[in-house]
């Protein structure tokens, strides 16, 4: 059933169904095991502080290292997928992530944890996330954003499930046993990678076929093409990456400081924690809703993204204002709205990338994007912490964070063809068979009036029947 599919997607448009949904399931599971797991590591921190007798700040570097490693090694993962088979890269990543956690269970000092849970697992996660996202995006065109939204909703859902699960594991087996079992759980990424099947994405390597021999120059040239480094010289990509980096500076601040801010304003521990949980719930809703809405095709993805980021920035700035009055309801409402907007923009951030760089270069583009935005993310939390230490409360931190998010939106506005009603064609690829024609035509059809959409739907439905006979 599935072997004949690779021919259809070699153009970069996914068949939008059938086996693609299996891949969405695989992405759902692997994302939850990467980011959902990362988010629930807080349970271990209390144990680490007690066992290693270190400060909370030293312990928090573990998850910062893990996240930074995941984002730093993303281009490496993308390049390896361009060079080799995606499934083996993802399966290796899964094994590395599991290995990091298993080794961490034997740690005797804090540095061990940095190296194992931070670097090794982070490397594994980097080899998993970007390739899986790129694979799924390559398999879907019209439902791309919805599928991403569904898959990323796993982060919120799994952290609901993981928090009590990890707590139970720590109580039964202490953190060592719990980390060992987590390593086992992380191994479930390997079957997700195996589901990808051989050569499941289209990457025209024609440009590198001519290279032969193992000279240094040819290696560097191949590496740079696998990493899609030439992208760094293209204005649309640079602009977009800059916008997302600015977004990243402010985006995470509420996750770090909302609970502390609520407590400082005077609410109880449970009230503050509930605000955070509620924001997390609307986050999940936002991802799915925005994914579904974006794929209806009424607006360009970049416009929708700008709307969500502006709203998110505004709501971040309103967070300290709402609690000024001391009203719990106001804080709750703003937090819910913020959660919804931040989830909504997450689905879109990745989906816009193929619009800008084309589907073939998507893998490398995503990798580089992750790397560059990671630097910005590392800046955000310490900056907001510093502002809080200077001014004494979180108002300045939230204002600055929201400001960065809005600044990111403004940067996005400077993208070429921002104000046109239709998406511009992605840049010409260098492969001899010109896939752009097909891509361009497909994009035009996607973003034209709804009446055309119905024709397209009809077409796809008709075409789907032969598919079904294979399954």
């Amino acid at each position: 059933m599935t072997k004949l599919r690779p021919k259809a997607e070699s153009q970069g448009e996914g068949p939008d169904g059938g086996y693609g949904w299996v891949l969405v399931g695989a992405l759902f599971v692997s994302t939850s095991l990467v980011f959902g797991l990362m988010r629930s590591l807080g349970i271990f921190f209390v144990e680490f502080v007690q066992y290693f007798d270190e400060s909370a700040q030293a312990i928090s570097w573990i998850s910062s290292t893990g996240l930074a490693a995941q984002q730093f090694f993303s281009p490496l993962g993308a390049a390896l997928c361009n060079a080799y088979d995606t499934r083996w890269v993802v399966m290796t990543g899964g094994c590395l992530a599991a290995l990091g956690l298993i080794l961490a269970s034997q740690a005797t000092c804090l540095v061990h944890l940095y190296l194992t849970m931070g670097v090794i697992s982070g490397l594994g996660w980097g080899l998993v996330f970007t390739p899986m996202v790129a694979t799924v995006m390559a398999n879907f065109t019209r439902r791309r954003t919805l599928v991403l939204g569904l898959a990323f909703s796993s982060i919120g859902l799994s952290s609901f499930a993981f928090n009590p699960l990890f707590q139970l594991l720590v109580e039964l087996y202490t953190w060592r046993g719990a980390l060992l079992i987590l390593g086992g759980l992380s191994l479930n990424i390997v079957p997700c990678g195996a589901l990808i099947g051989p050569q499941r994405r289209s990457k025209a390597p024609a440009k590198v076929v001519s290279e032969s021999g193992v000279s240094c120059a040819s290696f560097l040239q191949r590496a740079s093409s696998y990493l899609e480094l030439p992208l760094l010289f293209e204005r649309p990509y640079i602009t977009y990456t800059l916008a997302i980096s600015l977004l990243n500076v402010g985006y995470f601040v509420p996750y770090f400081h909302l609970v502390a801010h609520s407590r400082q304003v005077g609410f109880s521990e449970y009230q503050a924690a509930f605000v955070m949980s509620a924001a997390g719930a609307t986050d999940i809703l936002g991802r799915i809703a925005s994914g579904w809405f974006s794929d209806l095709g009424h607006f360009r993805l970049i416009h929708l993204l700008s709307v969500w980021t502006t709203l998110a920035g505004v709501f971040i700035m309103l967070l300290p204002v709402s609690s000024l009055s001391g009203s719990y309801a106001a804080l709750m409402v703003i937090s819910l709205l913020y959660g919804f907007c931040s989830g909504a923009l997450t689905s879109l951030v990745f989906a816009v990338v193929p619009m800008i760089v084309g589907v073939e270069r998507m893998m490398g583009a995503l990798g580089l994007l992750q790397l560059i935005e990671s630097g910005a993310g590392l800046l955000g939390a310490p900056l907001s912490g510093l502002l809080k230490d200077i001014t004494g409360d979180y108002t300045a931190s939230f204002m600055v964070a929201g400001g960065f998010v809005v600044l990111g939106t403004l940067t996005m506005v400077t993208l070429p063809h921002y104000f046109s009603r239709k998406d511009p064609p992605p840049p010409k690829s260098l492969s001899p068979e010109d896939p752009d024609k097909g891509l361009h035509a497909e994009l035009e059809q996607m973003h034209s009036s709804p009446s055309d959409m119905n024709d397209l739907t009809g077409e796809v439905t008709n075409n789907r029947l032969p598919e079904d006979t294979y399954s």
């Binding site: 021919k7 153009q11 060592r176 079992i181 479930n188 390997v190 195996a194």
Partner: protein
């Protein structure tokens, strides 16, 4: 003359008592007070009762001559006299039975108690007939938030057990740790006993670190906050498990993953075998697939095949 002899004999007795070796089986080797009873500090606690009963918590740190004063506004009977009585822990205090007259529309009971050591602490009750009573609960500061979940650690690893006295309560003079041995026999753990135990006392907190754990280390541990008057106890449970415990679910998960991957890869292999035979026969399949994609350059599929690494 006899009073001073009594005092002297008491002091000699106290001196003898304090010379005993501290390795005792009873908890709380509180240093016995060497101050004569007359020279103890004094304190007063008064309670005015409006209803039928009331409980008053009294926190004591040091030996004290404590005056307990009870005032009752009376009930509708408004008797001229009522019997007043003191009890300690339910038992009547000798010579405390008296007749209490009503003065200024209330009844007054007052008595001085010498609270010197742990036995003197407890529940003191002043009773007005059988109609009203006030309970004074005399105790040293108790350790709050007792951890109900056991501390778990592995054989060969170390475990840290902590006890904390709340900020609102006064600091104990020192801390002691005990291990439950059998039903209620307890032993003091001294820091010099073995290298395995380490006690860190920091004012309000105390930590007991047990290294190189063995199975027999499991059980109940007691920490005692020592005050001049008595020792307040709290307990922590230690569980020691071997590394095989988490290994079982781990191995189960790994086996499940390997089986899953094997199934996926084998299924794919069988599918590709099926398709390679089918591809020879059915070219119609391929044309159908090509109409699927919005547009499709046949050349691209050949470059796909080229890419096998």
């Amino acid at each position: 003359m006899s009073a001073s002899w009594k005092q002297l004999s008491l002091q000699i007795l106290l001196l003898l008592v304090s010379c005993r070796h501290i390795n005792t089986k009873t908890p709380g080797p509180t240093p016995p007070p060497l101050i004569p009873i007359d020279q103890l500090p004094t304190d007063v606690r008064s309670v005015t009762l409006k209803g039928e009963s009331h409980t008053e918590k009294v926190e004591l740190l040091n030996p004290v001559n404590l005056t307990l004063e009870c005032t009752w506004t009376g009930n509708q009977d408004k008797l001229a006299n009522i019997t007043g009585l003191w009890r300690k822990d339910g038992e009547e205090v000798k010579n405390s039975n008296q007749t209490v007259p009503m003065e200024n529309d209330q009844y007054n009971l007052k008595r001085v108690f010498s609270i010197v050591n742990e036995e003197d602490l407890g529940n003191y009750t002043c009773e007005f007939g059988s109609k009203a009573k006030i309970d004074f609960v005399l105790a040293a500061p108790q350790i709050g938030n007792v951890r109900d979940k056991p501390i778990v650690s592995y054989v060969g690893d170390f475990a840290v057990m902590t006890c904390k006295m709340e900020e609102t309560k006064p600091e104990p003079s020192t801390w002691y740790w005990y291990k439950a041995n059998g039903t209620d026999m307890e032993q003091i753990i001294a820091a010099e006993e073995t290298l395995r135990y380490e006690i860190k006392n920091e004012g309000r907190n105390t930590k007991l670190v047990v290294s190189s754990l063995v199975e027999t280390d499991r059980g109940l541990y007691f920490c005692g906050a020592v005050y001049a008057i008595s020792t307040s106890m709290s307990h922590v449970e230690l569980k020691v498990i071997s590394f095989l415990e988490p290994l079982k679910p781990f191995v189960a998960i790994v086996i499940a993953v390997i089986v899953l991957v094997a199934i996926i890869l084998l299924y794919e292999k069988s599918q590709s075998k099926k398709n390679s035979t089918a591809a020879e026969n059915g070219t119609t399949d391929q044309t159908n697939t090509q109409t699927q994609g919005e547009s499709n350059a046949p050349g691209e599929s050949s470059s796909m095949r080229q890419r096998k690494v």
